[in-house]
């Protein structure tokens, strides 16, 4: 059964290049909340502090909170990119992450090559990757541009390609950031259909967003983060009460 279980996890980012003593003191004096000094006298940003929650199968969780609240860091920690420095994190289930649209893309390679690369990142065989590229090419509607280096793409085209490549998987746990809202109207319509399929197909959805209408449409539970801590956790309507 897919499950995410976090017990008092903390993630800290060391700031390696602020060595000078005076700078250190000034930084610490100014922000007594997020910056602190660890045992070996390094300055660290406490990105996530003492988070505990359990996400059961079937739950659709929205991570809400202002910029810098720790939403994306939490997604990356759940995806297994950052390791917590304290606490215990248990994730059971295949993970698909739509965190950064350009994740692992090579701007010099063509659209097709990038999709194949994406397939290889996911551990697929080469023949599967080729089929994947065909399908993603069709879906993204890039046509002849599929065989052109992606550095020549417009912003909308790259989002379409990334979206097509990223949504070809069917994970049990879907981690998603809000970037997928870009693209032209015609594409958004098609994208919605596909997103819906992906979201309903996954057993667990964790979505970081600022857009409350998306939260209301897709999520059943909301976790509000502030300053790297959980400040509220509960059903969407309860957490979003008073927000538009």
């Amino acid at each position: 059964m897919p499950l995410i279980k976090a017990e008092h996890i903390a993630v800290e980012f060391p700031l390696y290049h602020v060595g000078a003593r005076s700078l250190k003191k000034r930084l610490l004096a100014r922000s007594p909340i997020r910056l602190k000094e660890d045992e070996s006298h390094r300055i660290v940003v406490a990105a996530l502090r003492d988070l505990s929650f359990v996400i059961e199968p079937g739950e659709r969780v929205a991570l809400v909170g202002g910029n810098g609240a720790g939403k994306t860091t939490l997604l990356r920690t759940l995806a297994g990119i950052y390791e917590p420095v304290a606490g215990r994190l248990e994730v059971d289930g295949s993970i698909g992450s739509l965190i950064d649209p350009a994740a692992g893309m090579d701007s010099e390679a063509t659209g097709r090559e990038n999709i194949m690369l994406r397939g290889l990142f996911l551990g697929m065989s080469e023949t599967d990757c080729e089929a994947l590229a065909e399908e993603a090419g069709r879906f993204s509607g890039l046509g002849e541009f599929l065989d052109v280096p992606i550095r020549t793409y417009s912003a909308g085209m790259s989002v379409r390609l990334s979206f097509a490549a990223a949504t070809l998987m069917e994970p049990e746990i879907l981690l998603m950031d809000e970037w997928f809202m870009a693209g032209d109207a015609d594409f958004i319509e098609r994208a919605n259909e596909r997103l819906e399929k992906l979201v309903t197909g996954a057993d667990i959805l964790v979505l970081a967003t600022h857009n409350m209408s998306i939260v209301r449409k897709w999520c059943t539970r909301a976790i509000r983060l502030a300053g790297g801590r959980v400040v509220a956790d509960g059903p969407v309507e309860e957490i979003l009460a008073g927000e538009t």
Partner: protein
């Protein structure tokens, strides 16, 4: 189509800061990373293509520049050392080509993780994949310049004996060291960005201290100290079989000892700091 080959990363994982199980996870990283060699090959080929994008002869520039260097230095130094060109040039060609490969590997080793920064921060992958990408990248580069040895041998009619086959285990040792070096230097250089410059200047010094241009017997009695230089030992396991009728047992022993030491140090470092790499790059 939730097919098994779409299994993303490991289906279940536990991260417990009080019980990091570092050794086990480092070993898993190696195992999973080596199993993903196809990805490493694809990334390495992209690296080569990007590096020489738009260039007409691409990676053969390396071959060409080495060929020019061998000819120029060959003519000058055969006069300085009072050796005939037929005697000196095959030695020099092998020396320079092996040295270029070696020093290219060491200077590039510091990049092994920094180069993959974009991927490391976005896609959870075993770090071994990135190091393997660096090794394969250098194997491809070496494959462009090492065949030049055959050309030089053909021109000068040098026909090495069957011991030349020993150059293959020599090359293998070199690339095992490349993996260890890529892991170790890759981590150190990701954390301390100055190390790369230090490595680059150290390699320049090493070029003159190592018998690349000059023959080891010029040292006379002090030749016995040469195996203390790991660069010499590693180079000699490839060069010896090709132009000197085989490398001494001392050289092979040294190469194996240095390789084992490099692997041990890299492994210990990897076990201890693996979890920090994503924060360093």
């Amino acid at each position: 189509m939730r097919s098994p080959n779409l299994a993303l990363a490991s289906p279940r994982y536990v991260r417990d800061a009080t019980d990091p199980r570092r050794v086990e996870r480092a070993l898993n990283d190696f195992r999973d990373g080596l199993a993903r060699w196809r990805l490493a090959v694809a990334l390495a080929r992209l690296d080569i293509r990007n590096r020489y994008r738009g260039s007409v002869i691409g990676p053969f520039w390396l071959t060409l520049s080495t060929a020019v260097m061998v000819t120029g230095i060959g003519i000058l130094y055969s006069t300085l050392f009072k050796l005939s060109l037929e005697e000196y040039l095959p030695f020099l060609a092998v020396s320079l080509l092996v040295w270029t490969t070696l020093s290219q590997i060491i200077t590039d080793a510091g990049n092994s993780l920094i180069y993959s920064e974009g991927v490391i921060r976005q896609v959870p992958l075993p770090y071994t994949v990135h190091v393997l990408r660096f090794v394969i990248r250098n194997v491809i580069i070496a494959a462009h310049s090492l065949p030049l040895i055959v050309v030089v041998f053909a021109i000068f009619g040098v026909m090495p004996g069957p011991e030349a086959l020993l150059a293959i285990p020599g090359l293998l040792l070199l690339f095992i060291n490349a993996f260890a070096g890529g892991l170790f230097l890759g981590m150190i250089c990701a954390r301390f960005r100055d190390i790369q410059q230090i490595v680059a200047s150290a390699m320049q010094l090493a070029f003159f201290l190592t018998p690349v241009l000059w023959k080891p017997d010029l040292l006379g009695d002090r030749q016995a100290w040469l195996p203390l230089n790991p660069f010499f030992v590693l180079m000699e396991t490839v060069r010896g079989p090709l132009v000197e009728g085989g490398a001494s047992a001392m050289v092979w022993l040294g190469a194996i000892v240095y390789t084992a030491a490099a692997c041990a140090v890299a492994f210990l470092f990897f076990v201890r700091f693996r979890a920090r790499i994503a924060f360093w790059v």
